[in-house]
Structures are given as C-alpha cells and as structure tokens.
C-alpha cells in the first residue's frame, strides 16, 4: 500500500453547473504537486467525464449527491474517486465500450475511452440500484523541486 501524503473530499449536488467546479477544485488541490500543464489538463478532463457520467447516467431521473475525493500517494501518484448513489450500471464492460451510450445526442459515448486514455488505471465498480464508484489513478512525472 502506498502511503497517503494528503487528501481531500467534497460532496456536490448532481447539477451540471457543478462539473466545472469539480474539475477546477481537483486541479487547485493538485497544484501542490506542481504538475505539468498537460497533466493538469488530463486530470481536469477525466474528472469532468466521471462527474458528468454521475449526473447524466447515475442520477438521470433525480438530483443526488456526488462524492469526489482525491488522495495524493507517495511517488507522485494521484488517486481520484467519483462516487454516486444513483441507478448504477448493469453491464460495466458494455458501458466502457467506445461509442456506447444510453444518453441523448449530447453524449458521444467516449467518456470512458477518454478516462482510460488519460489515466494509468481506471476502475469502475457499480451495483444496479445502489450506485457507481469510478477510481482514476495517474502517476505524475518527476519535477525538480516538487514535493513527494
């Protein structure tokens, strides 16, 4: 197990206006690791995808809470968890397929593909009727003078 050096968590209502807040807040927390602009952009993108999934799919029919937590682990590893208590995903393997979506025409079906491309590891645990937990892990490049 990697040592946890710092962590934070936040609880948001599943309103689309909170997508921007969620990615900005995670990016602000990660500033202490002095990530590159590309790393920060990748992480903002995957947070946006995971939070949007919770809003559009998890809580498709109602408002609910989304928990976003970030842990900074030794070796400049960032672990982000996005959890909802929404409807869950019956077939996770199918949901992770490129172009698959149960959403409307504003959804591309590429959310999980982007989360996979921009992280080192993507884990999805879901239980129909109980919710979904998405865990995104990314190790940042070494930076001279940076912490951890």
């Amino acid at each position: 197990m990697l040592t946890v050096l710092n962590q934070m968590s936040m609880k948001l209502e599943s309103r689309s206006v909170n997508e921007g807040f969620a990615r900005q807040a995670v990016a602000a927390f990660l500033a202490q690791l002095d990530p590159t602009m590309d790393e920060l952009n990748d992480i903002k993108t995957v947070v946006s995808e995971a939070v949007t999934n919770a809003i559009v799919h998890g809580y498709r029919d109602r408002l609910g809470y989304i928990n976003v937590s970030v842990r900074l682990l030794e070796g400049r590893t960032v672990e982000i968890k996005v959890r909802d208590q929404g409807c869950g995903i019956a077939d996770v393997a199918q949901a992770r397929q490129p172009m698959f979506t149960t959403g409307d025409d504003t959804r591309s079906g590429m959310g999980f593909t982007i989360m996979e491309s921009f992280t080192d590891r993507l884990r999805v645990r879901s239980s129909p009727g109980h919710g979904t937990l998405v865990t995104l892990t990314r190790t940042l490049s070494a930076r001279r003078g940076a912490q951890a």
Binding site: S16, V17, E19, G20, R23, M37, D38, N41, D42, K44, T45, S48, E49, T52, I55, V56, P98, D105, T106, R107, S108, M110, G111, T113, I114, S117, F118
Partner: protein, 106 residues
Amino acid sequence: MQITHESQENQLILHYVGELDHHEARKAMDYAESLAVLYPVERYVLDLSGLTFMDSSGLAVALNLYRTLQRTGRRMVICGCPPQPLRVFQAAGIPKIIPFEEDVKC
C-alpha cells in the same frame, strides 16, 4: 461559453470561447444546428482557438454538426484547436473523420 458566428461568401465560421462541457453542450449543439439550417453555405469552420476546456461533450457537438452537414453534401473543418481539446479529439480518433487546420484564418 460564448458562441458567435461570422458569415462569409461561401463559408460560415463559428467561434467558440470558454469551456465546452456537458453543461454547455445542449446550447452549443442547438446553436450549430440552427445555423446549419439558416446558412446553406458549402463550408463550415469551427474556430476553437478560444476554447479553454473541452471534454467528450465537445465531441458530440462537433460530430452532430458534421453529420448534419454531410447529409446535405457540405463540408466542415476545425481550426485553431488548443492542445487540451486536441488531445480529447485525438483520443476519440476524430481527426481521421473531420479535417483539422492550424490557421484560424483558413
């Protein structure tokens, strides 16, 4: 996000400024779709040089407009795409479908 458009002789340029995510996607999509009806020009240019963030919602916006234009035999190009949106487009393989040009004044 702000979207404006500029009509030229045989092309229409759409300028996107700000963050394009799911929260803004419906507005962006409806705006582009209504322009596709109003302006029967042959070429549409999406100027993304003012985008400060885009996630997969932007893919849906671009692909929907591309399909609408294709159905009526028209073309679309994406210009001036900053690095972050470009990585999202590339991860989805979009540059194989929609042409990308660097210069905004294309």
